[in-house]
Symmetry: C5
Subunit: 383 residues, 5 copies
């Protein structure tokens, strides 16, 4: 029962939370050599609290701050009991919950030691589904992600969330309360579908943000490529990679739910999961598209920088190569030799200017013929 360092994906529970970005790639791992089934509770983890929603088509009961043993009464009835465990910080509550619902130690380990790779595991009496929930951060770019563990039983659904305050389940709670749609008329499996569907739907606005960021970068990268642009391109690529890591196993999760005939999931509900699958495929499609675009942006950035350098060097070359010979001529007639016939000529100075102007004009003509002034103008107009 060692308190091993846990690697949660939530900012509050990380010591070095000044560096938000790195959260996207966290993962849980056991202390090497620890006994299988060990629960690793992070010190900063939010204390667990249990929220129960118990409903039949006729009525809904909602209870806060229950103990696991309080839940027993609800679990034994035929009504659908959604037991939402919010926060994974209280080991006794989690262990009690495991005892009350006869959860296998490995199952409990998988929902508590977060984050895990999304997966489905069949424990006969229960079906364990772990998925990654992402939420846009309203104040800043990026997203926060949190593991949600579903334990589906005959008449109940347990959900394990890392943080109590944020989730995307409120529309579902509203629909249960208001008895909107099919949710009150069906079983715990349909509730699981509705919640997973809400999680999947929540990926879309997050991706939409990245679509917009890529679009903004597309303009910036050609017109004003700066160091900041480069950082942003890299960040977008990194975050899309993180999103892909969440969505790709989700595809396998939903596919497993569709293909494997599980007694706990009704055939009708399986049809709804088929609809989910289409959405996940679309998500993957979008992520891959954005990734390709972002990856192409890096090439464009490099080319754009090289292009800009070209224009600057072109400008330097034009100015330098015109004045360098002229300055040399001026230098020659600045020499103090005794015997320099030109210096004594009446119109020597003006002849010198004439020569210099001829040289300058010839060079300008040469540059103009070579099209070097095109760059020059483009530099002016677009930079």
């Amino acid at each position: 029962m060692t308190h091993s360092p846990s690697y949660s994906s939530r900012p509050p529970s990380k010591p070095n939370d000044e560096d938000d970005e790195e959260d996207y790639f966290d993962y849980f791992f056991d202390t090497p050599g620890s006994e299988p089934g060990t629960l690793s509770i992070d010190e900063d983890a939010t204390p667990s609290q249990i929220v129960l929603i118990d409903y039949t088509e006729e009525k809904v009961t909602r209870k806060l701050n229950l103990t696991p043993d309080d839940c027993l009464t609800y679990l034994e009835t035929d009504s659908v009991s959604w037991i939402d465990i919010q926060g994974l910080g209280s080991e006794p509550i989690l262990r009690d919950m495991g005892r009350v619902c006869h959860l296998h130690p490995l199952l409990l380990e998988d929902v508590v030691n977060v984050p895990q790779r999304p997966k489905v595991q069949d424990y006969n009496e229960h079906l364990l589904i772990t998925v990654q929930m992402v939420m846009p951060t309203p104040d800043e770019e990026g997203f926060i992600s949190e593991q949600v563990g579903f334990v589906l039983g005959e008449h109940y659904l347990l959900t394990f969330q890392e943080e109590p305050e944020q989730d995307c389940f409120n529309p579902v709670r509203d629909r249960i309360r208001a008895n909107k749609g099919k949710v009150r008329k069906t079983g715990a499996d349909y509730l699981a579908y509705v919640l997973i569907d809400a999680i999947i739907d929540n990926f879309f606005p997050v991706l939409e943000d990245y679509g917009e960021r890529v679009e903004l970068l597309e303009d910036e990268v050609v017109t004003h490529p700066t160091r900041h642009t480069l950082e942003q391109i890299y960040d977008v690529r990194r975050e899309l990679l993180a999103l892909r890591r969440s969505i790709w196993p989700l595809r396998n999760v939903i596919n497993t739910l569709i293909r494997d005939n599980n007694a706990l999931i009704n055939n009708d509900v399986q049809l709804y999961f088929r609809d989910c699958y289409d959405h996940v495929i679309q998500l993957l499609d979008i992520v891959e598209t954005y990734r390709e675009l972002a990856s192409g942006l890096m090439d464009v950035y490099l080319s754009s920088i090289s292009n800009k350098m070209n224009e600057i060097v072109n400008f330097l070359t034009v100015i330098s190569t015109i004045f360098i010979p002229l300055t040399f001529i001026a230098g020659v007639y600045g020499m103090n030799f005794k015997n320099m016939p030109e210096l004594d000529w009446q119109w020597g100075y003006f002849a010198c200017w004439g020569v210099m102007i001829v040289i300058a004009l010839s060079l300008l003509l040469l540059f103009w013929k070579r099209g070097w002034f095109e760059n020059f103008y483009s530099l002016k107009k677009r930079n």
Copy 2:
């Protein structure tokens, strides 16, 4: 029935339509947590109107502006009824149509909430096929795309289009009216084939345009690589990526129609779909080829820019390194030291010129031996 923000692929229905490019990657998504089966009608969507073409081998009837209930009479006969719903803006008409034809709510959702990923779904009584139709834009580069939903029944075919004015079905309408070819002698399934074939054939001229743009860029990128070239290469890559996203799932759609023995599709018609499949494979082949070419262009661009820079810097170096030592010498004899014996020599000035000419010629010889003037000439001729 919330009016959620809809993400249509048609420019008119987008607020920020000054930025046309981003349309290519739009996709529809539900408001997270919304009930499955919700129709999301965009405020800017075109009002729906129904155009019916009802035909047997002997006669053709064409009716405009029918109501869904008007269609009932035609649906009940054995003649083939093509009900073309143009515009997805009128929820009552769409819902009525659903009621009249017994469309499943999820089916209706899939044809109305556009754009979706192209797919085939079997609803026993109907077969739903959604595909992406692309049309070249006559005035500018690029293309516009629109989802077309086909609902194939026993004696009827419903098509759902986003916009009434543009489609590629006129040659088919002409063939029905003129009784040209097999179309009047066969069922609704052949009509579906003919329409899908028209959509597939329409991809070719769009791709042809990209072939020409790539060809133009191939020349430009080596001879006159500018910032505009870079933008265009990126745009071509982006738009080909969008086209690929439309064509790739189309391949699965046609493949499903060929493989799955569906009661609604005749064996003879399945053979025709096999021909379609060849075309889609060819489309994919072309898209991939152009994508590879466009991707190679980016490398060429970068190399070409570097090459040009090389030539410019080469020029600068030749001019600078010749005049810098000469200017130094001129500077030396411009010094005002009292005791500078050379200044008093009779031929000092001319000796100085001699030394400077020797230095310049030696440097020119050195550069010539090193082949630096090759670049010089190439710069002149090709730039």
Copy 3:
């Protein structure tokens, strides 16, 4: 029967034939919405002529300029009839041929509307095989390609070629005339094998040319990278991509012929096709190898250009940084201040030279220690 714009791969039949390169990626497509089975005859297409070679083990008959109906007599006998239709410009002849041999309209469309993707299609009575034939162009780099359509029947083989004058079948014609090898002793299926084998063998010398071009470029890219090198690398990549596009579907064609037990192809001949398959795999292997090499060349080009730039800039920097401080010193003592004590020193001028020489030598020593002269020498020797 519209004269739609046809996209032939042969230069003579293209309006803009000043741009030879783009031929490699042509493909045929129907006018969108045209009836399936339409023949699209290009105005510039060569008029069709029929060459018949009819043989048994005992005797060979060769007839030129037959009409399709003339062929009937030969088709009805048990001797093997090779009917070679050269040129696809005469619609009546093609249609008559179709009528005489009972060709399916879609089959006729596939051999006439060129170029198509290589494929095999079984029409029970006939087997349609379309492949791409490439021929080296003797006068210039590159190759020309032409579709050859094979229609294999019980005792006859029809071949449809775009151009009469060029093909790679002459050695086969000689072997038939001279009764060399097995060809006269076997059926039409072996003839098909022999012709396809000749087409496959013809790819090798074309690829060999690319091997040599890549080898030449390998040297050039490191020693003399110019704009022309870049163009050539891109061209080689593009043309290898085009070759790959012809060979890849050929692999499927041969594979289909081997796997599918077709009544028209004898088991013995299938063994020979297995040998063909090995050759096609080897072709693909070679194309992929050259493509990888050519793609690596682009990286080398960019690095080589950067390297050369480095050397030039290095040279400029050495010259500039040595003379800039010296010129400054000369400038200082060129100033006209009244009170400049150094100017009046007896050995001031020589002291000044001394200081300048010390500075120059120190800088040279510094550069030498930093190894900058290595580049200098390499620039001299190799450029």
Copy 4:
């Protein structure tokens, strides 16, 4: 029995151990043409010593420095015997061990001739499992790796390690001694699982280090890209490639253990291996993610360097192009022509200054309009 040069992955046993990095890619290979079954003992290999832990649920025996024949007594009992052979330097001990346990010569070759590719091989009486164990190096970056060979028999488990002092099995030894968890209650197969699980768990902290190194490099590459950064990026890529080479075959090893029903592995233990499989998949996932990030860093590095160059050249251009014309003007009025009217003007000098200031200001205005000072500031602030 030749003493062929052996290629061990452990630093101490390598002659050129001053070059630590290259260890990651070592592999064993036979002297070409040597008889299969030859043991290749490296001269520097650590002498073998045998550590036996024999346990039942009731008691544990631990013996050091046994001879293979001493082990026989323990092997014959029903208690689980873990015979840990540490060091592969003593051929007689290894051969005796082979004789005592009836090991196949090829099996012995596979555990002694290290390193091999991780694999599972079934020799009926035994199951051979070879895996790669990695350990973080405490003093420096990187990791050391060592092959561990497992020979699983009915009641015994042989482990062959290259080095005695380092392994990650101590927590397991403690759990056996303290009778913690299930290990004392189960057979040799569960012991094998526990040890392999410890090896897999040990990969995580090693990968964690790379995650941190990538994160550090992400900052460095944009703000202070130096030659050292480049070296580090390459090293991280190389070492991740090496890790991937160890983990990828491990996936096949575990997968084989799960799928193949082997009499030596209990069904219950197979379930535990399924858990291992999840961890290996996660490892692969992490390695691939870091590899993609590290590979992206190389692009960022190049772009960042180009960007920095741009800023420097921009600075040089601004300074040069302002002063070059001014210096030219100063040069002109430094000429010593007799007849230079401007020189005699009363306010000539001040007019000259005026002209120079106007030119300088115009150029500054031009540069400011073109946004060149943005780079200038960014150069100041961030560099």
Copy 5:
């Protein structure tokens, strides 16, 4: 029986053997249109000679310079006859050998027309195995490769080698002579295994060389990237590509030998081939690893060159921007205006120096703050 140009991979038999590198990618192809079964004997091919080793467990006979008919006596006995045909230049000997052993014409073509893609082909009475043998070149970098064709019969094994003097079979010959190991106790199939195993083992030292070359380049590319480094990286990539082309089909060859139950290969020997398969997989693994490393080196090269350029340009910029303003000031006071008040000041010259020193120091301070001297030092220390 035409003497078509043959494309052998051995340097001596090539006209343009001054260019050694291109050998790696040679391949054989028929003269287009030639009859299948044609032997293409190269004029430069070594004359064939036959070396027979005939052995039972009791005795060994070794005969040189036999004729094919001499072999007949040995072929008819039950002893294992290894007939080693060295050199492929004598068509009569090869044809006689074919007649004596009843070799199929296509089989003979495959072993004589070298090099072919490695493959296995079953001709009932014989099994044809062709593989690529590589040997390190002692004098220079790289390797030479040669096709070896194995024809395995019931009691005999024919091997066809291109060159007599070099092969890697001597340890096997020694083991046969000295009756070491199993080889004398087993059949021709085990002999085939032993020879193929020797060929596979021979790949390892060749690859080892590339490992060392990559390691050397890793250092060079960061510290002293020169044009030569670039050439070497490209060469290593090219040669590894060639090795991969030999090893990849070898994998299929061994896999076919393991999977297909062939009467000519004993089950016991199949187990040994399984061991071979492990080695080939390891070879592929190593080749791919080196290829990835070499490909990464190209990126590092480009970055390293850019980095070096950065440092040089940085240096140039520091020197230039310090002296350019100073030289301008010196120029100003070198002007010859009549009325220049500063010139007449008592301390004007010294004030001028003061101003210049202040400017220089300010610029140095600016550069130091911007960290430009870091590059400066790194340039000094490492270059």
